[in-house]
Structure formats: C-alpha cells, structure tokens
Amino acid sequence: MNLFFISHIPVLIVVIPLCAAVLCPLLSRLSPSLGKRTVIVFLFVVFVLSLIQLAGIVQSGEAVHYYLGGWEPPYGVEFVIDGVNGIIIVLVSFIGAMTALFSSPFEEADKNAPFKSAGYYSILCFLVIGLLGIASTGDAFNLYVFMEIVALSGYGLIAIGEEKGPIAAFRYLLTGTIGASMYLLGIGFLYSATGTLNMADLAVRLQRVDNLPLIAIAMACLIVGFGIKMALFPLHGWQPAAHSYAHPAADPMIAGVMIKIPAYAMFRFFFCIFDSSLPMMKTIFNIIGIMAVLGILYGSLKALRYDKYNKILAYSSIGQVGYIALGFAIGNFYGIAGAVFHILSHAFMKTGLFYTSAAFKYRYGIHYTDRLGQVYRKMPVTCGALVVLALSMIGLPPFAGFFGKWYLALGAIQNGQYLYVAVLIISSLLSAIYFFRIFEKMFMGEKTVSEPAAPEEYYGYGKLTGKTEVPLQMLIPIVSAALMIIALGLGNSFIVNGILRTTIMEVL
C-alpha cells in the first residue's frame, strides 16, 4: 500500500491541486472560508509530497518515470522527474502554498464576496497546476497544454488586479498567444521530422535527422515561444505592465515563478532534446547570449528610471531572466548549474520582494517608493526581509543571489567569454543603485509614512485596529522567503553538486 502510494507521487503532485481547484468554489458555497482552507492545506500537502519525491531522487540518483494510464512511451504521456525538475517542483509547490496563505488577508478585507474569493483561489490553484505540470512532463505537446493552463490562469489573475489590470492582461494575452503558437509550430516541425512527441524519444530520433534547416527553424520558433513566455529582452513587451498591475496577492507567484518555468522548459529543449554537437548550436547559443546581455543591461538601466516599486521590480526581472538565458548561452556545467540555481534563487528573491510590495499596499496603500519614508519603524519585520532580499538581488556573498552569479561567472571564465563576466559585474552595480535608492527612501525619507486619505486605496485598516505590521499569514511567507534565500546561499554547494550535477552531466 505504502509502495503504491509512493509510486504515484509524480501524478498526485498535479492531481491534488486540481481537486482543490475544482472543490474550492463548491465548498465556498457551504462556508466562505472552507474553500480557501482546502486550497491552502492541499497545496501544503503537495509541498510535502514534492519533498518526499526529491529525497527519493537524490537517494537513488535516478530519474523517476511515471506512465500516465499505464501507456508506455513513446505512445503514452509520461512524467519524468530528475534532479533539476525535482527541485523546481519543490520550489513551485512551496511558493504556491505560501502565496495561497499570503492571499487570505486580502480576501478577508472583502468579506461580502465569498464566491469571488473562491474564484481567486481556484485560479491560483490552476496556475500552480500548470507550473507543476510543465516542470513534470516528459511530453512536448503535454507541455503546450500546461503552458496554456498557466497562461489562461495568469490572464485571470492579472485582470482582477488594479485598475489597469484588464488592459495589461489583454496585451499579455495577445503576446502570450503568439508565444504559445510559436512553440506549437516548433514542435510541429519536430514532429514532422521524427513522428514522436515524447522528449526522450525526440532526443534519440533527432540524431538521425539530417534536415538541418528544419531543425534550425524549429529552434528559432522555440526561442521565440519561450522568449515571449519568459520575457527575454526583445520579447518582453507585455511583462512590466502585467507584473505591475496584477492582483497584489497573486503578483509574487506571477512575477516570481511564472517567468522561470518556461526558462526551465528552454533548458529541457536546448540541452536534453537537441544534440549539442549540431553545427548551428554555437550560433543559436550566441543569439541567446546577445539577447541575454542586451536584456540584462536594458532591464537594469530601465529600472533606474522608475519610482513605482512594482515597475522597478518588473524591469529588474527582465535583467534577471537575462542571467538565466546567459547561463544557457554559456552552455558548460557551471553555466547551466548557475542558470538553474538562479532560477531557484531569483524565484525566492522576486517572490519575496513582491510580497513586501503587496504588504506595503495592504497596510498603507503605497505604490511609489517616495512614500516609503521611515516605514521600517512601522513594519520592522517586512523591512528586514526586504533588506535581505534586496542585498541578495545585488549579489552580496552570504545570500543566494551571489552564488548564482558566481557559478555563471565561473562558467563564462572557463569558456573565455569575458564579455559576459563584465556584463554580470556592471548589472550588479546598477542593481545596487536602484535598491540603495529604495533603502534611502525607506530609512532616511523625511516624510513619515501614513495612511492614505482615501481608504479604498488600501486593503488593511492599520489606523482602525492600531496595528502597523501586517498579519501573521502575510509575515510567514515574507520571512520564509528571506530565510530560504539564506538557506539556499549556505547550501549552494549541496544543491549544485548533490542534486543538479548528475542530471546536468548526463545532458552535456
């Protein structure tokens, strides 16, 4: 019985949140808070299951294969979980559960709309399902379906946000659909050449395909598709508005995780499926590298221009996604390990920073950094976490952000690509500038922070209840994000050498 349960964990990780997403609106009819609690509990169960799964993979050192419905590949759909996506599944389920917990005070502020809040939790759950599905699946078309689940729930969560939410969501919908269609076209080309959609089978059969232009076109389509989904530099147009105007409670999930998972899928395609000895691979990696370098510089410079906290974070995300793409462009062990490590560390950093942004909005309705004056006196824990996360973004040694950049730099030096090292250093300095500007406003701003005149601008009622720090449900995610940054930073050697090394060495 126990063994039966363990062997079905890969699919349970996706099915349990699916049950929660469907049950949530029904249970909310019975009692307003029941649906919400179901979602939070189910997502924490998924987090525990993903940890069990990762422990099993690390112990055995082998990938887990799960055949859906007992149909063996290449005919059926399979889930393949190895070191790289095992840890990414842990990341997604952890942040998903934390974000569901984080959202509850926002919904309590809106007491007379239980069904609306049930819809919110349901959509959030679908977002988590899609992300977990992309991370687990070993089938190219299945990945497309999960990608669209992510995109559709993302549109919903962006649209229910602030006033400009619907227009940002609509723009993202148009761009995102082009991205998904390009991905579909790319796998259409690969299918026409190989007649299979299973990723492992594709990798074997593509070695026998000698139609190089076709593979090159498929790669171009995939770069555009994933590039749009992960907001890589010239394809990032939808991202700043979508990340600034999304629902403040769901924004951490959207900004932190939703753009990282397509980056992981890019790793799957460009290293696990395509043969690295192909003649055009060097050109493709150079193109990704140019996009990454331009994106890093553009994102960091553009972030300097804005006063709006969310806009600064959104533009800095464009730069940080560039780091991940840079790791793929470097393409050796340290480059890929740095990229995957940066997926993990940046997911926690950006999620944590958007948690603090939502906390400021919740209590004081603050959208602009110049209103943050002396906020550390009112919200000491939130500001402490913000300092840790921002220092990690800049890349100071004990925190996780430093080690991601460190591995990237090691990989670049190993390949002799010193331009990439220079770009890493310049962008760290630029991010120091925009984060220290926020610190200056926070700690040395002259005007003390206060409640806005119009109460509809913010969600919390600090003035009425006499409280200044955010509620516990919001503090736990904020603090845990900061703690995870420290833990990742201290445990970086275990993650890179203990978990990621076997998988990455296999594909090189």
Binding site: F141, Y144, V145, E148, A151, L152, Y155, G156, A159, E163, P166, I167, A169, F170, L173, L174, T177, I178, A180, S181, L184, L185, G188, Y191, S192
Partner: protein, 126 residues
C-alpha cells in the same frame, strides 16, 4: 521553370498558404487599432497552425483511421495523431478567445471604448 513552380506548389503549396495565413494574422494583430480586430487576427493565426498540423497528417490514398472490416496496413490510413492534437489546440484557442472576450468586456466597461488610441491617448496611425 513552370514545372518547378508546379511541383513546388503541389508539394509545398499548402504549407506556403498556412504561412501566408499566419503572417496575415500576426500583421493584423500588430497593425489594427481595434481590440476586437486583434482578437480576430489572433484566431486567424491559430487556425493557420491548426492547418499546418492537419496538412502534416494527410497523405495520398489514405483513408480514415477507423477499422471498418479488416485491418489494412499502416499505409492505407492517414495519421490520426495530428488531428487529435489539434482537437486539443482548438479547445485551447476557444478558451483563449473566451478569456479575451471577457477581458474586452471589462475594458469596455472601464474605458468606454475598445479602440487602442482612445485608451492610450496616443494617435500613432497615419
């Protein structure tokens, strides 16, 4: 010369058509200022990709992949997998269009218009 064009069109003509259709769709999404037209062009683009897959599954003298009397060889049937995939893709595109229309209604409610230039206040055409 005409022979070359004829064989090209016979072999690859359907693919050229789908790519022209796709180009038209993306061009329309970029150039039109009305959001409803943008959604229509998005649908045209999605349909072009569905055509592309269906053309892949087709072959000469193939019949429906349904066993009626006795099983013939694999050559006798067309490939059913692209059709199955495209059923899923059609459902996805239906969902996307539904969400897009819902968002459009919300935009109309907030801004009172679905014209790009009314919403952004920028007149960049002509």
């Amino acid at each position: 010369m005409i022979d070359i064009i004829e064989t090209f069109l016979a072999e690859k003509g359907i693919y050229m058509m789908t790519f022209i259709l796709m180009g038209l769709g993306i061009f329309g999404m970029v150039s039109s200022g009305n959001y409803m037209k943008k959604i229509m062009c998005m649908n045209i683009m999605q349909v072009s990709i569905i055509f592309f897959f269906l053309a892949l599954g087709q072959k000469e003298h193939g019949t429906l992949p349904v066993v009626v009397e006795n099983l013939l060889g694999a050559d006798a049937y067309i490939n059913p997998l692209p059709h199955a995939l495209m059923l899923t893709a059609i459902v996805v595109s239906l969902g996307t269009t539904g969400v897009a229309l819902a968002l459009l209604m919300k935009i109309k409610e907030i801004y009172g218009s679905i014209e790009e230039e009314d919403i952004t206040g920028k007149r960049w055409k002509k």
